[in-house]
Symmetry: C3
Subunit: 351 residues, 3 copies
């Protein structure tokens, strides 16, 4: 699986001195004391000329020595990503702007709906059309704002007017969140939706993608693709939604990137009901350049183990196995987002 398209990620930090633990997970406190820390030491230490599993203190010192620019350059090269679809909806200080990030790797933009609406001075619909002129997809964090157990119907103009009257600042009103989702359907671009785990302010029990089922059923006739991001620990529910709705996709990203060696088992669970043309790879990397490497290297490693197991079981032919990997890694995203073919990576990039 040489070619990987990262169908959902964020930009990288330019700071020379970053708190690895703070940035590595979505926790408010600093921690690398789990699978992600092990995976980072495994996959990233060699990129900085250290032995795999080098202690974190050694790793952090070497990182400072090299400086952010060199580390970012090395990590993005080591991740061997074909195209990165970058969610530009975060104003976190220190992140490289998209144009600068694009010098490190080929990027395309994913526009965050709530980010546009919260900054729009006039009509949201026009603001979205303007903001997405060069975008390949939009993204919603409705799960954070009001949960996914939302009324599936398009709100009426009156509903929206009344809700807007009381609205200021952060977009949390369920009517407005729904309104925005339906405007996204009108746009016609693929809609990426946060589902499952995330920061501590995502209400996990209300982020189960199965709660979206009525809305997905309402959207299906439009044929607008809906991508369920993250999904864990509801990835089996996501796989079923991808099976029964012709326009629903499931992304294995954040899950693979955060779970280290356990990603192999969970990837297997993703591959139960979901059709193989509806699974998408991403890193969901954010800030820390290491996360591109962890996401990509762990996915390549875990996918190979998983599929080798299927082959050993006699479940499919080698040709089927190769074709499925190519699709999940890149071709499904290429087709979904209308990305052109790109050059193959240089031959000396192994694995």
């Amino acid at each position: 699986m040489d070619v990987l398209i990262d169908q959902h990620c964020h930009s990288v930090l330019a700071d020379d001195d970053v708190d690895l633990g703070r940035w590595a997970t979505e926790a408010a406190h600093s921690t690398l004391d789990g699978q992600l820390g092990l995976a980072l030491r495994r996959w990233c230490a060699p990129v900085l000329d250290l032995e795999p599993h080098a202690p974190l203190a050694v790793y952090a010192a070497r990182r400072r020595e090299l400086g952010a620019a060199e580390v970012n350059r090395r990590m993005l090269a080591a991740a061997r990503l074909d195209t990165l679809l970058v969610d530009t909806g975060l104003d976190t200080p220190g992140l490289l702007p998209l144009a600068e990030f694009g010098r490190l790797a080929p990027v395309r933009e994913v526009v965050r709906l709530e980010h546009v609406a919260e900054r729009a001075t006039g009509d949201w619909s026009e603001a979205l059309y303007a903001a997405t002129r060069d975008a390949v997809a939009v993204k919603s964090i409705a799960a954070y704002r009001c949960g996914l157990d939302l009324d599936p119907r398009r709100p009426t103009a009156g509903d929206v007017r009344r809700a807007l009257a009381g609205h200021a600042g952060r977009l949390t009103d369920p009517v407005l969140v729904r309104h925005l989702l339906w405007l996204a359907v009108d746009l016609g671009l693929p809609i990426q939706l946060h589902t499952g785990f995330g920061d501590d302010d995502v209400p996990l029990a209300r982020a189960d993608p199965a709660l979206l089922q009525p809305w997905l059923a309402a959207v299906e006739p439009s044929c607008v693709p809906v991508v369920l991001l993250h999904c864990y620990p509801f990835h089996r529910q996501a796989g079923w939604l991808a099976q029964v709705f012709g326009n629903v996709y499931a992304d294995v990203g954040l899950t693979v990137g955060q779970l280290g060696t356990r990603a192999t088992a969970v990837l297997g669970e993703f591959c139960e009901l979901a059709p193989f043309d509806r699974l998408l790879f991403s890193t969901d990397a954010f800030g820390l350049a290491e996360l591109y490497v962890v996401g990509a290297a762990q996915f390549r490693h875990s996918w190979r183990i998983l599929v080798d197991g299927w082959l050993a079981d006699g479940a499919l032919s080698p040709a089927d196995a190769a074709a499925i990997g190519t699709r999940v890694g890149a071709d499904n995203a290429r087709c979904l987002y209308g990305l052109g073919q790109s050059d193959p990576p240089p031959a000396d990039m192994n694995e």
Copy 2:
């Protein structure tokens, strides 16, 4: 595990030309691009004299060449099922009537409650008694009609009368669905209940069998057996219900049949809390004769791998392993539904 009793399935199509993808999954659109497609090509191609993993186009051509009668005959023979408990509550055109299907394999009837009630002209209770004269069980699709988070109490006569007054056509009123479930308890036959995944119109988040817990607690004193069908992705919840309620069973059917090589992992999860005398095999085959083969062959294969793993771990003795397999495959169903002993399959049927 030579003998398998298929404790929940449907009849088979008589058409010579079927859309394999449309019939293979419960999705409204056609897809064999997932584990089920791989499993079908693996297990069924040899039944049609093709190599395992033959391409679908080759497979479909060969199927048409042989014709439905021959394919159905070969598949049912290859599945090596002892007795089939057939849900007759679907009026899908093209399905063989039970009497004709019975020429292909030994069948017993499972009566669908909603099917009877929706066609009854008089008293439901009498209609159910009449309809189940030769049946071994009843089945409810309450999960589709109003979800499983239903009021556990038997509705009063007044509640039922009021609900019936507004009722016409499809049975979706929660009061009437509950009424029907309690009439089934009065009948005393085992009650099979759809839980977990299914067609796109089952509300997945409301099909968690754990939502049935209050009703199961209310039914337990009656000792009427309740069989939780499908269960996935809530099969661990189902296993716990089977552990704590003396009359609750869990069926591994649709799950094993749809998940291909992944069935092994999920079967293991079924076998965590559920007592071994409460697990039941089925294929949940519907329409496509291939689904009997996929369900049976994958179960035999996955069960053996699973239990060989337990043996290698030192978790049980070979005698225990054999006994558990026999019970899950056939004896639990034989005892639950009061089926008599049948002849052993011919000796030349291997595996």
Copy 3:
């Protein structure tokens, strides 16, 4: 992993003649026909000088022959537990009082909140202070009493007064259950909370620890540790809560003890998002001395297989693997509950 601290268990029965099946699971009916029965025969038969997997009837006869005192002594010795944190909130007849139990193994007390409140004649806060003078933690069974989907806010004095006015006997009023939880926060001792599966009267769908998220967010600023007991089948949700909240821990206890050979797979799932300093071992043994052996032996066995798999995968160094095991088995609990160092177990205790 020589040293194990059992961070949640109960006392043992003194009766010579016990119904093994009745006591082994939390089911109201007797059953050893599942993974636990296999695990008991595997791990405990040798402790009574029988072959592993000896039939239950043989086992039960040998048990009666030896008598409870000898069986209890042998089992506690074979479990090789360093310290046992004993929930004393059950008045089940036949259980050894803590002082007597302490002659079999080093014990510390965990006080059950509802037990104290239901017996308090005056101010609950004072009663809790008095009852926990020698305790290392408190425990709540709010999941049984009103579910975990509770209002996260501390109830007002007026709310409590009104609720107390209507209260008698069993504590089920959500306002009083919340009041008690907040009094526990004031105490400052670690709070152990039942989550996930248990007896048939725990409402499983309302025992998902993710439902506690708003309360955990409200408690986090106090830094009072909260330990999510059992967790299964919501252990992935628990792992995420442990990742995002700095004061939340997940206990693998009852799950490992009840699942036999399947504990290996489920332990792996516990180790996905949870930081390694937030996972805690316990047996959750109750009544039957065998349950200490099953919990401890299965954990040692499953943990070693799990981590050997990670090592074979190249996911971590042997030094990391050893350190993580020591922490999950004992050091996390030692630190959390302020337990002192204890003597190492005698050298002749193998594995």
